[in-house]
Symmetry: C2
Subunit: 230 residues, 2 copies
Amino acid sequence: MLKLHHHPMSAASRFVRLVLGEYGERAEYLEERPWEKRRDFLALNPAATLPVMLEDDGPAIVGATVAGEYLDETRGVFQRDKRLLPEKPLERAEVRRLTEWFLGKLDSEVTRYLVRERVFKLEMSADAGGGPPDASAIRAARANLKHHLRYLGWLAESRDWLAGPRLSYADLAAAAELSILDYLGEIPWEKEPAAKDWYMRIKSRPSFRPLLTERVRGLPPVHHYVQLDF
Amino acid sequence: MLKLHHHPMSAASRFVRLVLGEYGERAEYLEERPWEKRRDFLALNPAATLPVMLEDDGPAIVGATVAGEYLDETRGVFQRDKRLLPEKPLERAEVRRLTEWFLGKLDSEVTRYLVRERVFKLEMSADAGGGPPDASAIRAARANLKHHLRYLGWLAESRDWLAGPRLSYADLAAAAELSILDYLGEIPWEKEPAAKDWYMRIKSRPSFRPLLTERVRGLPPVHHYVQLDF
């Protein structure tokens, strides 16, 4: 049995949850607030980052891309045309590049700031860094988001799915990030119709449903968050 | 034939060079100054990061971990007991966790700052961010380095190689980062004898030699940089 330490507003955690959903894998989900630096959690992952996955209480599988590779090696390999990493090394390299682009670059330039300022700071103690949001960080993240949406729109326009003809980790990585930004009402969808069309397609997949029903206490999502046709 | 766009002071580039060295792969090395945002380079990698690898002028293989996975799939798989990623999924997950720890966390908390402030700013134009070093960034990086050296020392003490009984990507990732920090004289080796012993072992490998002969213009390495027994 798989176990996943996650947080609903951690895009990296959502990525792994989408992969598990696509592969029809059941897992036990344990919510973790990484900023509390719980001793047992640090023992699993001294970097104190999410997600952390375990299989049958074995050693920790740390981080979204590491978990993604593990799931490809232990599940994806049996999925034939539903496998979320292609077979050919160069195609795998393109999927991995974009997966890193979204979970790394987009996350560190946009999502991480907005989630920290608009969500986590409300839940954090003053010691852990809680307090009022930093308006300049929010402004910078929103400016960066525009460039990322343009790139996403360009990918969505030029390819069936973001990394090529088939759904892949790249789509799930982008969707994980965007689903959080969309919850927060941060995405000007009308400016990027191709990106919107791609997101509607991925949002209607069964793997996405659990994400749409989650709520952050005291912070409801924008009204179109759950609408499949928005 | 492989081609690698790299920079001598890019730890991520050094990681791929060490992998190629361990596998005895020849490659053409092209030095790139990513802050110049050369148009042809941006076409290969819109993130403008190093390294970027190409095989037979095929599509770009972007980033150290993506290149590492590609080399494992196309070279490592034929290397038997010299393969730098183990065979078992859980062992691969541990190697990947540490590879990300060094190329991601250590790099972004330590190496990137020190290289930017002490090396790149000397070469950059004022437009690109050049100028005098920021003393507070250097101070913060040095403070972070202490924690990283302690963790590295602990790994080196508890295992033959950093991720287990065999040399792996984790060692090459750590060595890539440390070799740059050592060039700059930033490592208080005397405080972490187990880390020093591990570094002496990896430094004496033939794959390491090309790194030891490189020089940054106007910035010679500390005197022990090339000594195998220091």
